[in-house]
Symmetry: C2
Subunit: 758 residues, 2 copies
């Protein structure tokens, strides 16, 4: 099969970039001093039995982060970053993820290395077997597993241009076999570039000899975690490959098929033997060390290079004699692994040939954007000191590898903790969605971003699929609910009918009608507002009634905004947002206009500057609170109070900088959930129930929260109900306790997970 | 209690217009020749056991239309008109509603007058008793029952200004007692104006003497349906009133309390005796004859006059001696009822006093807009020939009362049948909502229009409430469904994942990305479109691929409409709308561009003119089809075919006047439901299920509807799913069978009603 010809075919070429990716990344949990953690895998992650993203590998301290399969490198790193963020912020606050493949200093006693406490006893037994067979210490090494699949449309296009294979699945197997053989032959180049385990830490080599000198990759050498030398398989054909494995298991050289640790694995069905039926669906590279300079352990350029390299493995000729070809590759890899990191590699010339040939390939395949990357790799071939192993070794020379790794780990810890309300990878999405994604990933619910700009998510746990938009628009609410809430008149009618206190008033569609109703309102406090705007436009409040001329003027203003206008009694009091989920008030929030509190020493401007240092404040809704501005409106507001930005307010004097209490203009969000008695919560919950909603933010005007709404007729009034209320301001309020509403939504969607309170 | 003073109080005056209204209107079903129907009450109305709007009164042929209680006269007539429309179009096609209070010619034999076949046997027994006690023929008279309640806010305001009563309920009872006593004293004026039963038809007076001369109101006289003379109650106090009734029942003068037929009734609880506890909540006037000149049997001016008259009954002084006062009223009413309709009434002077005093009242109460109405009534007092009874009598003189009534009935029949897709009273709402309201009223589901301009309805059957917007946005669909369908990319992903054929393609948010993908599309048929417009804007179709320049131009056009653009494979074929409700394809529609079919004789213009005569065609979406225009676009289209509006197309030649198939530009809707095999229906139903929707219109492109979608990969492609699809075009298609989708939605909402197929 001439794959090179197939690749060059004009109908395949446009599809060559299509591929699917997946990464598993292991890492030891350590404390902030770089010492191996002694804690269990955190409960925060829910049940390890099904967690798709965050698992434990061999040991209880060895966290494993698993991305879903993605269609692009960009998406791969979105998920990788998000999962890393979740892991980093969900493990105990004094722990971090060790950035090296080689473990930190290990306990002296074997029994202090904890085998992962998995619920499936077979999994535990297998790990015990491995500990016995290979020693626990070797199992503590971490790395990257890189899953790669050529795009389906692309493969079908290749398949369509050949006649040798009638069966697509057999064709794919042949294609991946060639890729694998060449990969095994040339993988030394990957070890050269990305080998990153030059040195070990204390108690790694205890009963076995260690390399005498620093190397490129302990992990990829015979000092690493490899099968015993008598384990050998042929890659000549799938048949041969499977027969060999079967035989070794029969002969007891392997306890079971999955014990075969090769730098590349074929993946198809659930078990290796299934490959005979399913064919190869994708391949898994297992020879990538953790790159400590990439906080995720690998970066996008590496993945792009691996993609090109694997494409090239399909492109480049191979030798007839498969076993010998592969054996030669293993020999070279062992040699390169054990070379001194600063030394020119023995096989530099072959490396140069490969990279130059790859350049030819990318030109022929119209992937010229990859040329600069290949040029950079060529330079690294000539400059061993730029390889990962060399860089780590040089850092370790300055001080110790331990200190270097600990410092890096702390940097990454900082990076993931400085804006806890954001989720890396998805921080262009709305904050509520970012927090919601964080919680879903943490709880092991599979998430897929269906549409990033539309905040559209797909969640799945086992067979239970839920779609979610804006973090709280779900299948649990019925279609009619948001339609009811969008219509203020309908909302009021329903609430009134159900016995709740809403402002009395009427809707008018003509001036004449509205003017006729003037006598009803003339002598009371009332509001005129357009029926369907939400942003305060066109609203006039008459706190002490109005004469007919003012009444008409107010109507005119409102009619400019909408064809229908509401005239309603004005209810005095403070507005609180009650957030109801599944019948329970989960949060109550008070919003205060932008303000500073004086200390008798600093100016308004200085006080604002200090208040703005709060990491919760940012711009453009990328933070739960907005920076307080000192623009025209704020200065006008100060002027009305006889102040300027240079005035020095007295100690404890509250100076307001805005009239409106919107968070978006620098207002404060203050959690009041525990300040309210059950009575008010019951009112809010029942009102939301009357509207038929599962999730709603309902706004109550309350003159005095110590009144009893059961007995006092005017203890509250309901202003409006919101069908897509912001959640982030409750989760990260300016003051008071944060309320994890996103987790409550998950509880509503997935009651079967029995998500615990953290 | 000086009610006049209370009414004049400035805080009551603005509220005086507030009142609640309800009407019950009886009418005999007759055939189009004016002969009493011999059919049963139609099954179309579902179960009479609970029907709130359409019932039978005494006889099986006597339909009774009942409005809900409304807060305005306008709304009262909306419901009245709607219910009348439903009744008129749901009874057999060759029947109509007799417009007179006096029944049409009755069968000679008593047994041919069918007592209403009610399911509650007690109700049947009571009717049998009445037949025996009063004779069946008297029971065949029809009329209006008018329910009236002063507004609650208004009554509370009156209550607040007095000190005599501590209890609001007792106050109201006193108020309605005064109103009733004065009404009974002065009701002769109502009989004078609105008496409308001057003559009887054949077989009405069979065993009892008839009036010798035409009269004002047989129905309101002693010739009408009244209790035996020994039945008398006092209106002096509620206590006396209830005691009297109780005593008469005990003495056997009445079989039960409801047998008391008085021109005014007090209403409170379920039974008369409950009034002692509940007080009077409203009053029911029973002395209004059917006005044959109003197609609903009564018109808005009459109701307005009754409202003023009742207010005046509260305003005007009454005599001390209640029983005598009422007895005088009864005497006068009997006298006026039996006056010749063309004769000046005996009590004209009292009438003039009353009307002039009412004029004073409306001026004092700032209801001056009522003055012209009172002036008109004054004129009628001087011109007996303008009263209803006189007008009917004069018509009957010309020919016969029977012919006159039959002609009027047919006129009203025509009025309710000419636009069967509209619902009187609500014909400003969307057509789908009008049809849906029709069906709900027909099936006896209580409807309330919550917001007319927003197409927002509340339905209720017993305790089961449903809110519905736009006739198919309901609680049965979850909130996430419309959000999925609004997002074309998400919709496609979900359908594709579920195994349905959707156009291959990608979403792009930048020109650069999109241009990079050019090679993938260059050589195939494809479409470029903005992600989220629905109206064809910004779409470019390349049926044979495109060069890069055209590709870029297409992208630019699409990006003008949206920040995201889809490039998709173009699927050739015909587009069909599959309408799925609750898992079943209930309708399939083909839309054809505006067209005419030649006859070899007439010009295009003449053919258009003829086609536009179809009553299904109208303008501005007030009809299921739009008029075909002959504007610039149509003439251009003709020109491209080498035609003008004066060309004479050959026989059977189809001439298209538009390129697009929208119904809104004169297109034809053609029902194809029975033309498709189960396979396609299954695809559509399953696709809608995959999207989680209960109600959806899903558009399939089908190259040949005789293919088998199970086996042929390209037998269909799904273009999009709509979450609020128009229904009226399926109910009233241009060609093919209408599909009553509105009824299917009702079945989905109210399965407990077991609504039958008609």
């Amino acid at each position: 099969m001439n794959f090179k010809q197939l690749l060059k075919h004009p109908s395949s070429r446009p599809l060559i970039d299509q591929a699917r990716f997946g990464i598993e990344r292991e890492g030891q949990r350590v404390n902030l001093a770089g010492q191996l953690a002694r804690t269990d895998h955190p409960n925060a992650f829910g049940d390890r039995a099904f967690h798709p993203y965050i698992q434990t590998d061999f040991s209880e301290t060895q966290i494993e982060l698993i991305t879903p399969v993605t269609d692009s490198i960009h998406e791969l790193f979105q998920y990788m970053a998000a999962i890393y963020d979740v892991a980093s912020r969900s493990i105990p606050n004094n722990e971090m993820i060790w950035p090296l493949s080689m473990p930190p200093a290990l306990p002296e006693k074997d029994e202090e290395i904890m085998i992962a406490k998995l619920s499936n006893f077979e999994d535990v037994l297998y790990r015990r077997y491995l500990a016995k067979e290979y020693g626990k210490r070797k199992q503590m090494v971490s790395g990257i597993h890189f899953n790669f699949e050529f795009g389906d449309e692309f493969l079908r296009s290749l398949f369509a241009q050949q006649t040798e294979f009638k069966d697509f699945s057999l064709f794919k197997t042949e294609l991946y076999l060639k890729t694998a053989r060449n990969f095994l032959r040339y993988r030394w180049l990957i070890t050269y570039f990305y080998g990153a385990s030059p040195l070990s830490e204390a108690n790694y080599f205890v009963d076995k000899p260690a390399p005498k000198e620093p190397v490129r990759s302990i992990r990829n050498s015979s000092y690493g975690y490899t099968n015993h030398p008598n384990v050998k398989v042929s890659y000549a054909s799938m048949n041969q490959y499977l027969t060999d494995i079967e035989q070794m298991v029969e002969e007891g050289k392997l306890s079971e098929e999955k014990e075969l640790y090769t730098p590349i694995r074929f993946r198809g069905g659930k078990r290796v033997a299934d490959l005979a039926k399913t064919g190869v669906r994708y391949i898994e590279l297992r020879n990538i060390d953790l790159n400590p300079y990439a906080y995720l352990g690998i970066d996008q350029e590496q993945v792009r290079f691996l993609q090109l390299f694997l494409t090239y493995m399909l492109w480049v000729e191979e030798a007839e004699e498969a076993d010998q070809w592969v054996a030669e590759g293993s020999k070279r890899n062992e040699q390169v692994s054990l070379e001194h990191p600063l030394m020119q590699t023995e096989f530099a010339e072959e490396g140069r040939f490969l990279l130059n040939d790859m350049k030819k390939m990318v030109v022929e395949l119209e992937q010229v954007e990859a040329l600069p990357l290949l040029e950079r790799m060529l330079k690294k071939l000539d400059n061993p000191s730029e390889t990962l192993a060399a860089k780590i070794y040089q850092e370790a020379q300055k001080n110790t590898q331990h200190d270097f790794a600990t410092e890096l780990g702390k940097t990454y810890y900082q990076k993931t903790h400085e804006r806890p309300y954001q989720l890396a990878g998805f921080n262009h999405m709305e904050l509520s969605t970012q927090i919601f994604l964080f919680d879903a990933i943490q709880q092991g619910i599979e998430v897929k971003v269906m549409d990033e700009t539309d905040q559209f998510l797909r969640l799945q746990h086992q067979h239970h699929v839920e779609y979610v938009k804006n973090a709280n628009m779900t299948s649990k609410d019925s279609y009619i609910v948001p339609l009811i809430m969008e219509n203020k008149t309908v909302t009021k009618k329903i609430l009134k009918e159900a016995g709740f206190r809403v402002p009395n008033g009427s809707e008018f569609t003509t001036m004449a009608e509205a003017i006729k109703a003037y006598p009803r309102f003339a002598e009371q406090a009332f509001v005129i507002k357009p029926k369907s705007t939400n942003y305060g436009l066109g609203i006039t409040i008459f706190k002490e009634g109005a004469d007919l001329a003012d009444y008409k003027a107010g109507l005119e203003i409102a009619f400019r905004e909408d064809h229908a206008v509401l005239v309603e009694e004005f209810m005095p009091g403070t507005e609180y947002r009650f957030f109801v989920i599944d019948g329970i008030v989960q949060a109550i929030l008070l919003r205060k206009p932008a303000n500073v509190v004086g200390d008798g020493q600093r100016t308004v401007a200085e006080l604002v500057e200090e208040k703005n240092l709060d990491p919760l404040r940012g711009t453009n809704h990328r933070a739960p609170l907005e920076l307080i501005q000192l623009g025209e409106l704020e200065q006008l507001m100060l002027k009305e109070q006889g102040l300027t930005i240079s005035s020095i307010p007295a100690k404890d004097q509250v100076v307001y900088l805005r009239e409106n209490s919107n968070i978006s203009t620098g207002g404060d969000s203050i959690d009041m959930t525990d300040e309210f008695s059950e009575g008010y919560k019951q009112i809010a919950a029942s009102a939301v129930e009357a509207l038929g909603a599962k999730i709603s933010g309902i706004d109550l005007i309350i003159p005095d929260k110590n009144l009893d709404p059961e007995t006092e007729a005017t203890a509250y009034g309901i202003i409006e109900a919101n069908f897509n209320p912001a959640m982030h301001m409750h989760v990260y309020p300016f003051a008071g306790k944060g309320r994890r509403l996103t987790m409550d939504v998950l509880r509503l969607l997935y009651p079967e997970l029995h998500i615990k309170n953290s």
